[in-house]
C-alpha cells in the first residue's frame, strides 16, 4: 500500500518538475554561497599582502612618524565562517574587513563595501533563502490537493469504505510527501556540506534543526488548511495567498514600518559633526584643543601646548576631537539601530519566515548584530593603535626605530550568543498547534 502511494505520487509530472526545479535552485544557491566565500578569501589574501606592501612603501617615503601615520592603514578582519555561505545575510553590504588610519574614526567606520545595487536588490539567492522562500511553495504544491484530489476523482468513497481509518490513509499519503521533502532538504544540505566543506559543529547542527523545523511548520500549516476539506482550487488559492502574506507582504510591511518608525538621521548628524569639530580646531587657540585632549588622556599632559604654527601632537589632538565631540551622535545612532533590531526581532517572533531568516543569519554570524559587534571591536582596535602610536608621534620617534613588519592584519570574531532552544520555541509551538488542530478537524468529520 505504502509503496503504491509513493509510486503514484512520484509519477506525477508536477512533482517531478518541482523537485527538479528545487534541486537546480538548491545547487545554484550552494554555488553562490561558495562564490561568496571565495570572494571573501581572495579579499583576505589581498589584504594581508596589500597591508605589508602599503606599509613598506610609505615607510620608505616619509621621514616623520606623524606624517607617516597620516597615511598608514591598519586592518581588522572578522573572517566569515564557512557556514556564512548558506546564509550570506548582511555580510554583502557590511564589510568583514575594516581598514583604518589612526585619524578620526567616525569618518572611516561606516565605509561600505562596493556592491552592484541590482544584486543587492534581488538579494542573495543563498540556501537559507531557498529554504525559507521556495521550499514552502513545493510543500504547498505537494499538499494542497492531498484530500481534495481523491474527492474530485471520486476515489474518496472507495477509500472510506475499504480502509478502516481514513485518517490512517491520509497519514500515509502525507508521510510520503513529508519524507520526500526531507530527503530533498537532506540531499541539498549534504551537497552544501560537500561543496562548501562545512565543518560539523554546533552552528551546522543548529542550521539543520531550524531548516527541518521550518519545513515542518509548512507541513503543519498546509495540513491544517487541508483539514477543512474544501476543494482543490480553494486550497491552492488559500495556501498561495498565505505564502504571499508570510513570505512577501508581512516582511515587506514590517520592513517599511520599522524603517519609517526609526529613521537614522543620527548617522548623518555624526558624519557632519565630526567634520565640523575637527576642522574648526585649525582656527582656534591651540590651548583649547590641547586642554580637551589632556582631559581625555591625562597621561600625555607632559607634552604641553606646542608653540610652533604646526605640530603633530596638536594635529592628532584635533583629529581626536572629531571623535570625542561627535560621540553623542555615534551613541545615538547605535541606540537607534539597536531599537530597529529589537523591533524587527520582536515582530518576527510570530512570523515564521522572518524569524527563520534572522535565526539563519544569527547562526551563520552574518546578522546586523554581528556587524555591530565588529564595529565595537574596530573602535577598540583603533583606540589601541592610537594609544600605541601617540607617544611615539609626540616624541617624534625616528621612523626606522619601529619594527613595521609586525603590523599584520588582526583577526577578531564577533560571537553570537543565541539560545537555540528558546529561539525555536515559537516555531515549534506554531507547528504543534496547527498540526493538532488539523487532526482534530479530521477526527470530527470522521466521527460524524
Amino acid at each position: 500500500m505504502y509503496v503504491l502511494i509513493a509510486k503514484q505520487f512520484i509519477r506525477s509530472k508536477v512533482v517531478q518538475l518541482s523537485l527538479l526545479l528545487l534541486l537546480a535552485l538548491g545547487i545554484m544557491s550552494v554555488l553562490i554561497g561558495k562564490q561568496f566565500l571565495q570572494k571573501q578569501e581572495r579579499t583576505l589574501a589581498n589584504v594581508t599582502q596589500h597591508q605589508q606592501a602599503h606599509i613598506a612603501r610609505n615607510v620608505e617615503l616619509h621621514r616623520e612618524i606623524g606624517l607617516l601615520l597620516y597615511y598608514l592603514r591598519f586592518t581588522l578582519i572578522d573572517k566569515p565562517d564557512r557556514i556564512a555561505g548558506l546564509s550570506i545575510g548582511q555580510r554583502d553590504v557590511n564589510p568583514s574587513v575594516q581598514s583604518v588610519t589612526i585619524r578620526t574614526l567616525e569618518a572611516q567606520l561606516h565605509d561600505t563595501d562596493l556592491n552592484n545595487p541590482s544584486n543587492l536588490q534581488s538579494g542573495n539567492l543563498d540556501l537559507g533563502f531557498v529554504i525559507i522562500y521556495l521550499f514552502p511553495l513545493v510543500v504547498i504544491a505537494f499538499l494542497f490537493n492531498l484530500l481534495s484530489e481523491e474527492k474530485e476523482a471520486g476515489t474518496w468513497r472507495l477509500i472510506a469504505v475499504q480502509s478502516n481509518s481514513t485518517l490512517r490513509f491520509l497519514w500515509m499519503k502525507l508521510s510520503v510527501r513529508i519524507l520526500l521533502t526531507y530527503c530533498m532538504l537532506g540531499g541539498i544540505l549534504l551537497l552544501a556540506y560537500l561543496i562548501l566543506s562545512l565543518p560539523v559543529n554546533r552552528q551546522l547542527i543548529a542550521f539543520i534543526l531550524v531548516a527541518i523545523l521550518y519545513t515542518t511548520f509548512w507541513f503543519a500549516f498546509c495540513f491544517w488548511v487541508v483539514s477543512f476539506q474544501r476543494n482543490s482550487s480553494f486550497n491552492a488559492l488559500t495556501l498561495l495567498s498565505a505564502w504571499l502574506i508570510l513570505a512577501v507582504l508581512l516582511p515587506a510591511s514590517v520592513n517599511n514600518y520599522v524603517a519609517n518608525l526609526y529613521p537614522v538621521p543620527e548617522s548623518l548628524a555624526a558624519m557632519v559633526k565630526q567634520r565640523e569639530r575637527y576642522h574648526e580646531k585649525w582656527d582656534m587657540d591651540k590651548k583649547i584643543t590641547m586642554d580637551k585632549f589632556y582631559t581625555h588622556y591625562p597621561q600625555f599632559k607632559k607634552y604641553g601646548v606646542p608653540q610652533e604654527t604646526f605640530n603633530w601632537t596638536w594635529y592628532y589632538a584635533m583629529q581626536q576631537m572629531g571623535d570625542d565631540e561627535s560621540l553623542k551622535e555615534r551613541m545615538a545612532m547605535r541606540a537607534k539601530i539597536k531599537q530597529r533590531e529589537n523591533a524587527s526581532r520582536w515582530l518576527a517572533t510570530v512570523i515564521p519566515t522572518m524569524h527563520t531568516q534572522l535565526l539563519f543569519n544569527d547562526i551563520a554570524r552574518t546578522s546586523l548584530s554581528s556587524h555591530l559587534q565588529l564595529l565595537d571591536q574596530t573602535i577598540e582596535f583603533h583606540e589601541r593603535l592610537r594609544l600605541y602610536f601617540y607617544p611615539k608621534i609626540f616624541e617624534n620617534a625616528p621612523v626606522k626605530s619601529e619594527d613595521w613588519k609586525k603590523f599584520k592584519p588582526e583577526y577578531t570574531r564577533a560571537e553570537n550568543n543565541i539560545n537555540i532552544t528558546f529561539a525555536l520555541l515559537p516555531l515549534f509551538l506554531l507547528t504543534f498547534g496547527l498540526a493538532s488542530w488539523g487532526v482534530f478537524n479530521f477526527r470530527k468529520t470522521n466521527d460524524a
Binding site: 553562490i32 562564490q35 570572494k39 581572495r42 579579499t43 589581498n46 589584504v47 596589500h50 617615503l61 553590504v93 557590511n94 564589510p95 581598514s99 569618518a107 561606516h110 565605509d111 561600505t112 563595501d113 562596493l114 556592491n115 552592484n116 545595487p117 541590482s118 544584486n119 536588490q121 542573495n124 539567492l125 533563502f129 521556495l134 511553495l137 482543490s232 482550487s233 488559492l237 498561495l240 504571499l244 513570505a247 512577501v248 507582504l249 516582511p251 515587506a252 520592513n255 517599511n256 524603517a259 519609517n260 529613521p263 538621521p265 548617522s267 548623518l268 548628524a269 558624519m271 557632519v272 567634520r275 585649525w282 582656527d283 604654527t309 604646526f310 524587527s344 526581532r345 531568516q357 546578522s367
Partner: protein
C-alpha cells in the same frame, strides 16, 4: 467581429465579477494594501528628504561660515553630497534602499557613498519592500489570474459555451469580449493606484516639472500595456483548459515561475557569472596605477620631477620659489587630474562589470513580462541603477571641481615662499567660499531614462504584439469541448 456582441460579453463578465463575496473581500484586501503602500511611500519620501535636505543645508552653512583659511584646508574640509529622492520614488522604491545616501567629497580621495537603508537593516530587507509598484507588479497579476481563470473554462464546464457558439458568437468575439471584461475588472484595481500616485506626486514639496508629468504618463501607459498582456494571456489559458480547475493551476504555476522564481534567479546568475571586485581589490588597483603614473604625495616621484624641470625652464627661473604662482598648488592640481582620471577609468570598468551582471535580467524582459515592467518602472520612477550611478557621477564631478577650484585659489593667492615655523599660516579671504556653489543634484531626464530602457520597452511592446497574435491563433485552433 461585431462590437455589440463583444461589449455584451465584456459587460456580462464585469457583472459576473461582482456576484461573488470573494470579489469584495479581494477589493477590500487590495484597498488596504494599497493604502498602506501609499502611506508608507509618502512617509519614507517625506522623512528621508527632510533629513537629507536638513543636513545638506547644515553642511553648506558649515562651509560658508569658515573663516579666512588656506584653500587647501578647505579642500580637506570638503563637502557632502546627499542623494535626494525623486517624487515618483513614492510609487516605486526600486533600488533606493540599497543605494548609499551620503558621500563625503574631499581632495585626493573618492569616498564610498554610505548609510544606505540596507546597511541599517536586520537582514529582513531581502524579503523586499512594499510599494504601489510592487502591488502592480506582483500582487495584481495574481488577482488577474484569480479573476480570469474561469473566464472561458467555466462556460465549457457548464455547457454554456456550446450554447453561446450556437447562438452565433464567434471565438474571436468571445475571447475579445472576455479579455475586455477582465481588463475592466483589472482597471478597477489599477486606476485607483494611478490616482493615488498622482495625489502623491502632487503632494511632493518640490516644483513639479513637465519632466515629472511625462514620467508619470509614460509609467501609467506602460502598466496599461502590461495588464493588457496579462489579461489576454489569462483568458487564452482559460480558453485552452479543459476545466476551470486546470486553468487555475496553470495560471498559478505561471505566476510562481514568472513573477517569483525567475526574477529572483536571473540577477543571481548574472552576479555569479561576472565576478565584481571588492572595495579592497578596487582600491588596490587604483593605488597601483597611481604609483605607476605619478604620486603627488611622493616627493621623489619621477613624473613630478620631470614636470618641475619643464615648468622651471618654461618660466626661465632656477627655483620654484621664483615662479609667478604657488608651486605646490600647481603640483596638487596635476595630482588631482591624474588620480581623478585613474579613478574615473577604473570606476567605469567597474560599472561595465555591473552592467554585464545586470544584462541577464535585462534580456529576461523578452522571456518574462514581469522583468520588462520591473526595470521600466524603476527607470521612470528615478529609482533604478542608472539613477544611482548618475548621482555618483555628479558627486564625483562636483568633488573634482571643488578640489581644483581650491588648488587654483592656492596657485593664485598663496605665496611661494614657505612660512617660518612660528609664522602665521597663509590664508585667503572667506569671501571665496560662498563663490563656490553648493552641490545641486539633478535627476536623470525622462528622455535619457527612456533611451536607457529601449530594450525593456521593446520587450513590453513585443509581449503586446505576441498576445494579439495568439488571439488570432487560438480563436482558429481552439476546440469547443
Amino acid at each position: 467581429m461585431r462590437g455589440r456582441q463583444v461589449s455584451l460579453l465584456a459587460i456580462q463578465f464585469w457583472k459576473n465579477g461582482f456576484q461573488s463575496t470573494a470579489f469584495y473581500a479581494l477589493l477590500f484586501a487590495m484597498a488596504t494594501i494599497t493604502g498602506y503602500a501609499a502611506y508608507s511611500g509618502w512617509q519614507t519620501y517625506r522623512i528621508q528628504n527632510t533629513i537629507r535636505l536638513h543636513y545638506q543645508q547644515q553642511a553648506r552653512q558649515g562651509w560658508e561660515n569658515n573663516p579666512d583659511k588656506h584653500p587647501h584646508r578647505m579642500a580637506h574640509y570638503g563637502a557632502f553630497a546627499f542623494r535626494l529622492k525623486h517624487p515618483l520614488s513614492m510609487f516605486d522604491v526600486g533600488m533606493e534602499s540599497y543605494a548609499g545616501n551620503a558621500v563625503f567629497l574631499e581632495a585626493h580621495k573618492q569616498n564610498t557613498v554610505n548609510f544606505s537603508e540596507a546597511s541599517f537593516s536586520t537582514g529582513l530587507l531581502r524579503f523586499g519592500e512594499i510599494s504601489l509598484a510592487m502591488i502592480l507588479q506582483i500582487i495584481l497579476p495574481l488577482v488577474v489570474s484569480f479573476l480570469g481563470f474561469a473566464a472561458v473554462a467555466v462556460e465549457r464546464e457548464n455547457g454554456t459555451l456550446k450554447v453561446l457558439l450556437m447562438q452565433g458568437v464567434s471565438w474571436g468575439e468571445l475571447l475579445v469580449g472576455k479579455s475586455l471584461g477582465l481588463m475592466s475588472l483589472a482597471l478597477l484595481f489599477f486606476v485607483p493606484i494611478g490616482i493615488v500616485t498622482l495625489g502623491l506626486i502632487v503632494s511632493a514639496e518640490i516644483a513639479l516639472t513637465t519632466d515629472t508629468w511625462l514620467r508619470y504618463l509614460v509609467l501609467m501607459a506602460s502598466y496599461l500595456v502590461f495588464f493588457q498582456v496579462l489579461c489576454v494571456f489569462s483568458v487564452l489559458i482559460s480558453a485552452t483548459s479543459r476545466t476551470s480547475n486546470h486553468a487555475l493551476m496553470k495560471l498559478l504555476a505561471i505566476w510562481l515561475v514568472f513573477f517569483i522564481v525567475l526574477p529572483k534567479t536571473t540577477q543571481a546568475i548574472g552576479g555569479y557569472v561576472y565576478r565584481s571586485p571588492s572595495k579592497i581589490e578596487f582600491e588596490t588597483i587604483i593605488e597601483k596605477r597611481l604609483v605607476k603614473e605619478g604620486d603627488s604625495h611622493n616627493p621623489d616621484d619621477p613624473h613630478y620631477v620631470a614636470i618641475k624641470d619643464s615648468v622651471l625652464r618654461a618660466h626661465g627661473v632656477d627655483s620654484v620659489h621664483k615662479l609667478p604662482f604657488n608651486y605646490s598648488g600647481f603640483v596638487m592640481r596635476e595630482g588631482e587630474r591624474i588620480s581623478s582620471a585613474i579613478y574615473t577609468r577604473e570606476f567605469s570598468n567597474l560599472l561595465k562589470v555591473y552592467e554585464m551582471q545586470n544584462s541577464f535580467a535585462r534580456f529576461m524582459g523578452f522571456v518574462d513580462p514581469y522583468a520588462a515592467i520591473h526595470y521600466l518602472s524603476m527607470a521612470l520612477s528615478g529609482t533604478d541603477f542608472e539613477s544611482y550611478i548618475h548621482f555618483q557621477k555628479q558627486a564625483e564631478a562636483y568633488r573634482y571641481q571643488l578640489a581644483q577650484k581650491m588648488n587654483e585659489l592656492q596657485m593664485r593667492y598663496i605665496s611661494n615662499v614657505k612660512p617660518g615655523p612660528t609664522d602665521k599660516p597663509y590664508t585667503i579671504s572667506h569671501e571665496h567660499w560662498k563663490e563656490f556653489p553648493d552641490f545641486d543634484y539633478r535627476f536623470v531626464t525622462t528622455s535619457s531614462a527612456l533611451r536607457n530602457e529601449y530594450l525593456t520597452i521593446t520587450a513590453l511592446l513585443m509581449w503586446s504584439v505576441v498576445s494579439f497574435m495568439l488571439f488570432v491563433y487560438v480563436s482558429k485552433k481552439v476546440k469547443t469541448l
